[in-house]
């Protein structure tokens, strides 16, 4: 029995290009997207017919028929049908949480190999029955006699046929994520210019990554799409400045469609294993998964911003690993909105926030911005909720591998429900 934790290696990843809502993948289901992604991963690493110890993935927008989404995708893929799988869901943190789960099992010796991933389709989103109608049907279903059934159905009203389309709003506040973020951005005084600069850099960095072939072994084109549909290689601060704000009011309205992520369809997957498994299969590790941390904040009371949880998770992770915020070669901070990244960085620089909220004697300090999201992030690539974690882990692992052994990267992902998932990777 393994008693000492083992290192969990990241061997590589695969994703399909991310499509805009109702774009190239409009008619494909979550299962189709995830299956294609697993097949691309299997092809890249020669895993056709290979048994893996587990596949963990999930989707945020999920049909009830997809209760076993990941296992069904495995069965439709080239992987061995003996590969077990399960679904998880932690909003936009799903993909990274899946990687934490698999790597923990690798560390404990419970599994030797696995895939962590995520998928989301905003185009093929489930449409629920109107709640009244659903209650009517359930009542009819519970009825024992035909008469009772008929009686239950008399409660039906035509307006009950209006479907209930899922909203990108927080159930407890009724505010959309953008509206929440606009409040936080205004509180922290994040300027429109700073947001547009971050957005333009994201597009330019991702376009450059494609151009120099960085994406060649991270991506498998699907349904005719060869690059992320949201990517605008010619994006500039000047062009972004022309867009009208869509979130917030009056003076404080700084958030536009250009510095917020659009609804996106896509999937990603990362291959993880023990060092022994990697060497047996001739697959060199790109990086190691060092540690992960989650946090949540009370955004319902208005006490804290909805997307501020990563600001809390990171210092706990740093403390556990004995690292400072400046000990990293790369920072991957998920761009739910440009403002999310900027607020998080500002909070870490803020002595008062670090003292009163994080309980630290000194602020975490600032980071070298030239190490931030150097190959672009969600503003350019798009953000199919559960797929973002896998996109970042695979991309960062490759960057760290190129940087060299012992290089370090920090991942920070905010999630709905006031949650945050963060992790540290180390180059192999």
């Amino acid at each position: 029995m393994a008693t000492t934790p083992r290192r969990a290696a990241i061997l590589g990843g695969n994703r399909i290009p991310f499509a805009r809502q109702n774009g190239a993948y409009a008619k494909a289901s979550n299962q189709d997207l995830l299956t294609a992604t697993l097949d691309g991963l299997a092809a890249r690493f020669g895993l056709a017919g290979t048994h893996l110890d587990e596949v963990v993935a999930g989707a945020v927008l999920k049909h009830s028929r997809d209760f076993n989404l990941t296992r069904e995708s495995v069965l439709g893929s080239a992987l061995s049908p003996t590969t077990p799988a399960y679904d998880i869901q932690q909003a936009c943190g799903t993909g990274l949480e899946a990687a934490i789960l698999v790597t923990n099992k690798i560390a404990l010796g419970q599994v030797d190999s696995g895939i962590a991933g995520g998928v989301d389709s905003s185009s093929d989103a489930p449409i629920a029955l109107n709640e009244d109608f659903r209650q009517t049907l359930l009542a009819a279903n519970r009825a024992k006699t035909t008469g009772q059934k008929a009686k239950a159905l008399t409660r039906f009203r035509p307006q009950q046929l209006l479907p209930s389309i899922p909203q990108n709003t927080e159930p407890r506040t009724g505010l959309s994520m953008g509206e929440h973020m606009a409040i936080t951005a205004a509180t922290w005084g994040i300027t429109r210019e700073a947001q547009d600069e971050l957005a333009a850099a994201s597009h330019q960095n991702l376009a450059a990554a494609y151009d120099r072939g960085f994406m060649d072994d991270l991506l498998t084109p699907y349904l005719g799409l060869t690059r992320d549909a949201n990517l605008r290689a010619d994006s500039t601060v000047e062009k972004l400045a022309k867009l009208k704000p869509v979130f917030g009011r009056g003076e404080g309205a700084t958030m536009t469609a250009g510095n917020s992520t659009p609804l996106t369809d896509g999937a990603s997957a990362v291959l993880l294993s023990s060092e022994e498994w990697a060497s047996e299969h001739g697959l060199p590790p790109l990086a190691y998964f060092v540690d992960g941390q989650t946090a949540a904040v009370d955004y319902v009371s208005g006490e804290e911003g909805l997307l501020m949880a990563p600001a809390y998770a990171v210092p706990r992770l740093l403390a556990r690993q004995g690292l400072s915020l400046q000990d990293f070669d790369y920072y991957e901070i998920h761009e739910a909105f440009a403002a999310t990244v900027l607020v998080t960085l500002k909070a870490w620089e803020d002595a008062e926030f670090c003292k009163s909220r994080l309980g630290l004697d000194a602020p975490l300090g600032s980071i070298d911005r030239s190490k931030l999201n150097v190959n672009g992030s969600s503003l350019a690539a798009g953000h199919p909720f559960a797929a973002t974690g896998g996109r970042i882990v695979a991309s960062l692992a490759k960057m760290l591998h190129e940087k060299g052994t012992g290089s370090r990267g920090l991942i920070s992902i905010c999630a709905a429900g006031g949650q945050g998932v963060v992790a540290i990777l180390e180059g192999a």
Partner: protein
């Protein structure tokens, strides 16, 4: 491109009647290779001029395979192959032996028959008369190829003095269905140290092969045939090839490597992938290619450059890593894909023809490179015929139908035919064959 109406039509009962009464050529279905089928069915005649040392060697090799081998044409019954060893001829008078062996058999050959003539390279002749006689073999072979009907092929094998035992893999290839669409070709067998496979049904077992342009078409066929023969295949194609490349790799249990062959580090990435994932590289097939057709008068620099870059210059760049230290293992095999257009030329394809003719030159240079010969690395090329290549798709129907018939087998070949020849080049048993360009064209009249 057109389906083979004519071919299908003449295979029906009614069609056969019409065809034989008006004398149109009647194509047969070619016998293609299967690892589980015998090398060739029926009787093989092996004979020769003088003491015919190669005939004796080949006859005993074929007998060990339990084939029915005779040294004289049977009075009744048909032959499936004739192997004539003319390696000891010294004078044109000696060519009578060839006539005497082959001529009586031609009328009774079975369909998909094989005629294999064995000689010595004319350059090694010791007298003008001997050189004339040896050179005559090529003309005879080509004429027999054109005379044969019903899928029969004729090929010439020139074996260098002292390398007689290196001929085995070539004889196997020519008798088998692997060479279904190969006729009128001259194959030169020279020095080398052939290694027989443990299992002839999987001659590439344990080998690692890389194939560029593998997502579809001929490239996918090459990847599948190499995998069928036992190799672990790295399937390479441009990143935009989509999930077609993943499907190819997963179907054959190989790995997919997305890269643009024109990238400066393409060769190194291929070598690194093969070494880290599969522990080395034994076979490299440069198949990726493009066309950008225009009359030369209308060809701008971009069209000119892109075709030469992908089809020729990228190979030169990749070879630095593939043939360099840590690249292809000693005893490995490099295979290039030329084209009949590079031999015959083609209107509107000056850029493509330039690149493919360049591939022929490159093959000849590398095939005789002393350092590569010392390392036991063979370098050969296939030149697919008119029908095989994408370029034919744009030709009008009528011209196409004529083009399809302009070869001795009177039909188009298949991508698998190209792939089978590449797989043969990739065998360790074939170490004596290097610097050869074999056309897989059904003995097309173009550029012959």
């Amino acid at each position: 491109m057109a389906s083979d109406f004519y071919g299908d039509f003449v295979r029906t009962g009614l069609g056969k009647k019409v065809v034989s009464s008006v004398g149109l050529p009647s194509p047969v279905r070619l016998r293609r290779y299967s690892p589980t089928a015998p090398l060739i069915e029926g009787t093989v005649l092996v004979a020769g001029h003088g003491d015919a040392p190669l005939a004796a060697h080949i006859a005993s090799m074929l007998k060990s395979l339990h084939l029915e081998v005779v040294d004289e044409a049977p009075v009744s019954g048909s032959l499936s192959a004739v192997i004539a060893d003319l390696s000891t001829i010294e004078h044109p008078e000696d060519l009578e032996s060839l006539r005497a062996i082959v001529a009586p058999t031609l009328k009774s050959l079975r369909s998909n028959a094989r005629v294999v003539i064995i000689g010595r390279p004319p350059e090694a002749a010791t007298s003008p008369a001997q050189r004339a006689a040896l050179r005559a073999l090529e003309g005879i072979t080509r004429s027999i190829g054109k005379e044969l009907r019903r899928g029969g092929t004729a090929n010439l094998v020139l074996v260098a003095e002292g390398d007689d035992t290196n001929v085995d893999a070539t004889v196997r290839y020519l008798l088998s269905g692997r060479s279904a669409y190969v006729s009128g070709q001259v194959i030169v067998v020279g020095e080398g140290s052939p290694v027989e496979p443990g299992d002839w049904a999987r001659p590439l077992a344990g080998k690692v092969a890389v194939v560029t342009g593998a997502a579809r078409g001929i490239g996918a066929a090459i990847a599948e045939v190499l995998a069928r023969d036992g190799a672990t295949v790295v399937a390479v194609d441009i990143p935009a090839a989509g999930d077609a490349l993943a499907k190819v790799a997963n179907a054959i249990g190989g790995t997919a490597l997305q890269l643009d062959v024109t990238a400066p580090d393409a060769g190194q990435r291929i070598v690194d992938h093969a070494n880290t994932r599969h522990g080395g590289l034994d076979i490299a097939v440069h198949n990726a290619g493009i066309t950008r057709d225009k009359l030369l008068a209308n060809t701008d620099e971009t069209r000119w450059r892109s075709v030469l870059d992908v089809n020729l210059m990228s190979i030169l760049r990749m070879n630095e890593a593939i043939l360099g230290p840590g690249g292809l293992r000693d005893g490995g095999h490099l295979v290039l894909v030329a084209s009949i257009a590079g031999i015959a030329g083609n209107r509107g394809q000056s850029n493509y023809a330039a690149s493919k003719a360049g591939v022929v030159g490159l093959t000849q240079a590398l095939g005789s490179d002393p350092e590569l010969r010392r390392r036991g690395i063979t370098v050969n090329a296939v030149a697919p015929g008119f029908i095989e290549t994408e370029m034919t798709a744009k030709i009008p129907l009528g011209t196409r139908e004529v083009g399809r018939r302009l070869n001795s087998l009177q039909q188009g070949g298949l991508p698998v035919d190209v792939a089978e020849t590449i797989a043969w080049f990739s065998q360790d048993a074939n170490a004596g064959v290097s610097g050869n360009v074999v056309r897989v064209c059904g003995q097309s009249l173009l550029g012959a």
